[in-house]
C-alpha cells in the first residue's frame, strides 16, 4: 500500500464520517439520531470559523478551538486538511479525476498548471476577514488590560498572516516593493479602520460562510440533497422538508462540483477561503514536499497528477500543495520527497502567494469598508424587516451577524422545519441565516424545544435551557425568551370578519395561562328582523322564515329580542321552514325565559362568538397559532418580530421584565 492509497482511505473515511454526522443530525435517541454525536466537528475543525468569529467577537466559542488543532497540524505538516480530511475537497478530487481520465498527457499538464487567478481565494479571504474585523477597533475592545491584550494579540496574528503573504511582490520579476510603502499602506488601513470605528455602523459581519467548504457541503446535503431524495430525514411528517431558496443552494452546489470538469479541484484552487487560510499557514510548514533537483529529469509526470496545481516539477508552491502524494507515487526517479524543509526558511522561499502585500491590504480595507456600507441599509436595526424572526436564543441582530456561519445546523436539527434559510429578507448579509417561516414547518417553534440553541457551533444562537426559554426557575425575573409577537388580523380572522366560530389559535397557544384569550360577543346577523307569531311547546312559529345556509353552526346561533338583556336571548336548538326551536333553559341558569310565552315585536338572529385577543405580556412568538390558523395564504394571526427579547427597543410593553435594558 502506497501513500496515495492511505490518503484515499483517509478521504473515504472522513467523507463517510461527514455524511454520517449529517445523517444523524436529527432529534432522537437511536444511534442513527443525534444522541451525543459530535455533529459540529467538521465545522469546528475548519479554522476559518475560529478566526472569523474571533475577529468579530474577540472570543472563541467552545469547540471552535478545534480549528487551532488544524492550524497547528498545518503549521507542522502542511495542508493535510484539504487533501486528507475535507469532505468537499474529496468530492472535488473525485470529480476532477473523472474529468481528467480521458485527457492526454499534455492536456493534463496544462490543466494542472498554476494560474494567477488562484489568488482569487485570498482576495475573498481577506475581504471577509476585513468585513469581520470591524469590532477590533471599537473602544469597548480596549477598555481593560486583558481585553486590550487579546485585541492586540488578534491584531498581531492578523498582521502575521498579512505580512507573511506575498512579501516578494511580483514573484516572476523578483522585484521587492519597498517596506516603507508597505508599512504606509498598512498604517493607512489601520487608520481607516480606526476612523470607521467611530461610526455606529462600524460593526463586524461574518461572511466566511458564503464559501466555507464545510458549511457549503453541510447545507447542500442537509437542505437540498437529503430532502430531495428523502434520505436520512426526521421521522414522521417533518420528514418532508421544504427549503426556501433550495434552487439557489442547489445551483451553487452543482456549480461548485461541475467546475471540476473545467479544472480539477476548481473550488479549492480558486475559491476556497479555508484553503487560502491554510495556505498562509501551510506554506511555512515544517514538513513539506520537496523536489530533489539532482534527481529530477523534468519528465513532468508529476504535473499530470497534481490536482492542487502546486508545480511539483518546479519550485513547489508548498502553500498550494494539499499533500495528495500523487507526485511521490508517479515520480520514476524518486525526485520528490516529503521531509523537513531541507534549507533554512529564507532560502527555501516557500512559493509566494501571487498577491502583493498591498493587494492584501486593499482587500482587507475593501472588506472593512464594505461591512458598514452594507449595514447602512439599517435592516439589522432600525428598519428591521417584519418577516425576519430568528430562532429562540438568537443574539441581537448585529451580534448574530458577527457569528452566524450559515452552516444550517439549526435548520437541520429543527424538529418541525419551521427554520428556513433566509434568502434576501434579512438583507445581503443574512443570506442563508436561519429565519422562522411559520407556513413552512409542521408546526411553529415547539414550546419545549431548545435544539437549535444547543447545536449552534458559534453561539449565534446562544445556549438555552427550557427553563430560560420559558422564563421559569432561575430565570423567572427575566421572563420568557420571545421571538416576536402575534397579531390578529381582524379583517381575515373567521370570528372577527366572517362571524364563524374558530379559535384554533387560542386552543393551540402553548403558553399557560394562554397568551391568546378570547372575548365573547353576540352579534346580529345581517338579516331582516323576524316576528314570532305563535308558540308550540319549544317551537316558535315564524312566518316566512327559512333556515340560513352557510352560517355559523346552530349551537352558536341565538334568537335575540334585546341585546342588552340576557333574559331576552335564547339559544337556538333547531329550525325549519317557518319555525325555530329555542332552549328555555339559559345555559347560565337564569331561566327567566321560560316564563315568557313568546316574544312580542321584532327578534333577531344572532351569533355568539369567541374572538381571539393576544396578550403580549405572555405571547412568546412561537408562531404555532400562525401555523395552525385555517386561513392559510396570509394567516389571520401572524407573528412579527415586535416585542422580541433580543431587541428591547422593539418592545411593546411599557413595563419591562427587570434587567431588560
Amino acid at each position: 500500500m502506497r501513500i496515495h492509497h492511505v490518503r484515499r482511505l483517509s478521504q473515504t473515511y472522513f467523507l463517510i464520517l461527514f455524511v454520517f454526522l449529517c445523517a444523524v443530525t436529527r432529534l432522537g435517541t437511536e444511534w442513527t439520531q443525534i444522541r451525543a454525536w459530535p455533529v459540529n466537528w467538521f465545522l469546528q475543525l475548519n479554522p476559518l470559523s475560529a478566526v472569523g468569529t474571533a475577529l468579530g467577537t474577540g472570543t472563541l466559542f467552545a469547540g471552535l478551538l478545534w480549528g487551532l488543532v488544524t492550524l497547528s497540524a498545518t503549521l507542522l505538516l502542511g495542508r493535510f486538511f484539504c487533501g486528507w480530511v475535507c469532505p468537499f475537497g474529496t468530492l472535488q478530487h473525485v470529480l476532477g479525476w473523472l474529468g481528467m481520465r480521458r485527457k492526454s498527457f499534455s492536456q493534463r499538464v496544462a490543466a494542472n498548471a498554476y494560474h494567477s487567478a488562484h489568488r482569487l481565494k485570498f482576495i475573498f479571504l481577506f475581504m471577509v476577514f476585513g468585513m469581520a474585523c470591524g469590532p477590533l477597533w471599537t473602544p469597548d475592545r480596549w477598555t481593560s488590560w486583558s481585553s486590550a491584550a487579546k485585541t492586540l494579540g488578534l491584531f498581531t496574528a492578523a498582521a502575521a498572516l498579512v505580512l507573511g503573504t506575498a512579501s516578494q511582490g511580483n514573484a516572476e520579476s523578483g522585484k521587492r516593493p519597498s517596506r516603507l510603502e508597505d508599512g504606509l499602506t498598512g498604517a493607512a488601513v489601520f487608520l481607516f479602520g480606526l476612523t470607521l470605528a467611530r461610526f455606529p455602523v462600524a460593526v463586524g459581519s461574518l461572511q466566511t460562510g458564503l464559501l466555507d467548504p464545510i458549511a457549503l457541503l453541510q447545507r447542500s446535503l442537509n437542505q437540498v440533497l437529503f430532502p430531495a431524495f428523502g434520505l436520512f430525514q426526521p421521522e414522521g411528517l417533518a420528514g418532508n422538508r421544504w427549503t426556501q431558496g433550495a434552487w439557489l443552494l442547489g445551483a451553487v452546489f452543482l456549480a461548485a462540483l461541475g467546475l471540476n470538469l473545467v479544472k480539477p479541484r476548481f473550488y479549492c484552487r480558486y475559491l476556497c477561503p479555508a484553503g487560502a487560510l491554510m495556505h498562509l499557514v501551510g506554506r511555512h510548514s515544517l514538513w513539506r514536499m520537496t523536489r530533489i533537483t539532482d534527481r529530477c529529469t523534468d519528465c513532468k509526470r508529476c504535473e499530470t497528477v497534481c490536482d492542487a496545481a502546486c508545480r511539483p516539477s518546479m519550485e513547489i508552491l508548498s502553500g498550494e500543495c494539499t499533500l495528495c502524494g500523487n507526485c511521490l507515487v508517479v515520480c520514476p526517479e524518486k525526485a520528490i520527497t516529503y521531509c523537513r524543509a531541507p534549507l533554512p526558511a529564507k532560502a527555501a522561499a516557500p512559493g509566494a502567494v501571487d498577491l502583493s502585500r498591498r493587494q492584501v491590504l486593499v482587500a482587507l480595507g475593501a472588506g472593512l469598508f464594505a461591512a458598514p456600507v452594507i449595514r447602512l441599509d439599517g435592516l439589522s436595526q432600525h428598519r428591521f424587516p417584519p418577516n425576519v424572526i430568528r430562532p429562540p436564543g438568537s443574539l441581537a441582530e448585529p451580534e448574530f451577524l458577527r457569528r452566524c456561519i450559515k452552516c444550517g445546523q439549526c435548520l437541520r436539527i429543527c424538529p418541525t422545519n419551521v427554520l428556513q434559510p433566509a434568502l434576501w429578507e434579512a438583507g445581503l448579509e443574512g443570506l442563508w441565516t436561519p429565519v422562522l417561516d411559520f407556513r413552512a414547518g409542521t408546526s411553529g417553534c415547539q414550546y419545549q424545544c431548545v435544539a437549535c440553541s444547543r447545536i449552534c457551533p458559534t453561539a449565534a444562537i446562544r445556549r438555552l435551557t427550557v427553563d430560560e426559554k420559558h422564563g421559569t426557575g432561575a430565570f423567572a425575573d427575566r421572563g420568557p425568551v420571545r421571538l416576536g409577537a402575534a397579531f390578529v388580523d381582524r379583517n381575515r380572522c373567521l370570528p372577527w370578519a366572517f362571524g364563524k366560530p374558530c379559535i384554533v389559535c387560542e386552543e393551540n397557544c402553548p403558553v399557560s395561562p394562554k397568551a391568546i384569550q378570547t372575548m365573547e360577543t353576540l352579534d346580529k346577523l345581517p338579516m331582516p328582523p323576524l316576528r314570532v307569531t305563535a308558540r308550540e311547546d319549544n317551537r316558535w312559529i315564524v312566518d316566512g322564515f327559512r333556515p340560513v345556509e352557510h352560517r355559523a353552526p346552530l349551537e352558536s346561533l341565538w334568537l335575540v329580542k334585546d341585546f342588552g338583556n340576557p333574559s331576552f336571548q335564547w339559544p337556538i336548538r333547531d329550525w325549519g321552514d317557518g319555525w325555530i326551536e329555542v332552549s328555555y333553559t339559559d345555559p347560565k341558569g337564569h331561566g327567566h325565559a321560560a316564563t315568557i310565552e313568546k316574544p312580542e315585536g321584532a327578534v333577531f338572529l344572532a351569533v355568539k362568538l369567541k374572538r381571539p385577543l393576544v396578550d403580549h405580556a405572555r405571547c412568546v412568538g412561537c408562531g404555532i397559532c400562525e401555523h395552525e390558523c385555517p386561513v392559510r395564504g396570509v394567516p389571520a394571526i401572524r407573528v412579527t418580530p415586535e416585542n422580541e427579547t433580543r431587541h428591547p427597543e422593539r418592545s411593546l410593553m411599557a413595563r419591562q421584565p427587570s434587567g431588560t435594558f
Partner: protein, 335 residues
Amino acid sequence: MEETKGPLPSLDSPVRRRFLGSALRYGLGLTALWTLGLSLSDWIGPTGAHDRSKSLSGPFDWSVPNAPKAVAVVTGSHRAACFAEAMKALGGMPRFIASGDRVFVKVNAAFASPPSLGATSHPELVEAVVRHCVDAGAAQVVVSDNPINDPASCFRLTGIADAVRRAGAKVWFPESRHFQPVTLPDGQYLHQWPSWTAPFLLADKVINLAPVKHHHRAGASMICKNWYGLLGGPRNLFHQHVHEVIGELAALFRPTLAVLDGITTMMTNGPTGGSLADLKETQTLIVSPDPVAADALGASLLNIDPHKLPYLQHAQRLGAGTLNLEAVAIHRATL
C-alpha cells in the same frame, strides 16, 4: 529524510543547529497560537444577562436645601419681566444657583414649530432664565432636550438655539452613544431605561422650563411631563401607562427650580397645537422649587382640577412635591 542518514550530527553541526532553530521557531509559533486561542476561548458563550452595573440609579436630586416652600405666580405678558419678578418673590436667583455651578436647563423643545404656536418653551423665557443663571455666577449653562421631532430642526425653529446663544450658554443635541440606562429604585417602569444623561450628569443644578399645554393622553403637559424629554429608547410605549410613568419621572428627577410658562396656554389640540386658535393668553408665569405645586397651579389655567390629574397624585405619593396648595406660600404679583 536525507539528514537522518549518515553519522549522528555533532552538537554544533549545522544540522543540529538548524534543528534547534526550527524547533524553537515552530515551538514559539505554536505557543503563541495556543496562548492567544486559549485566552480567547469561551466555554459558556453569551448568556443573555444584561450588565446592570452600567445603570445609573436615581433619584437625581438637584433641589437646594432649605428651598422656600413657595410658588411665585406672576401675571403679565412680558416673560423676562415676569420671571425677574418671580425670582424676586422667591428670594433671588443666588438662592438657587451658586457661583461656579454648572446648570442644565431642561426646556421643552419637542416640536419643530415656531414659538408663536406655543408648543415649545418660549425663547424669550429661555433667554431670561439663562441670563439669570449666568448673572448668579453659573460656570456653565447647558440647554438641552431629546425632542420628538428632529432635534436640530426643533432647536432652530423654536428659536431656542438663537436665544441660548444670545444669552451665552450652549445647546446640546442628544447623541445616541451618550445615552445611558437609568433606574428609579422601586419604580415599576423606569428600570435601566436608556436616557439622555449627558447634560444632567454634569450638572450641579437643573431647571425645568416648560409651557402649559393641553395633552390628549395625559390631560396636561407641564413640568412633570417635560421630563419625558430625557428619555430615550422606545419611550412611546409609556403612553400605555402614561400617568404612572410621569409620576415616576417626577420622583426620579428633582429639579432645583420649575419654571412653568402660562403666559400663553395651549388649550386644545395638544401637545402639538399648530394653530393660534389652540392658544389662549393666560398671562401667568409660575415659578417654584416644587414641581408638583407648580403643575397644580398650571392645571387651573387649563381648567383642570389638579386632583383629577392622576400623575400629580402619583408624583405626590412618590414624594416629588405637594398638591396641597394650602401648605405652600403663594406669592402673587401683577405687572
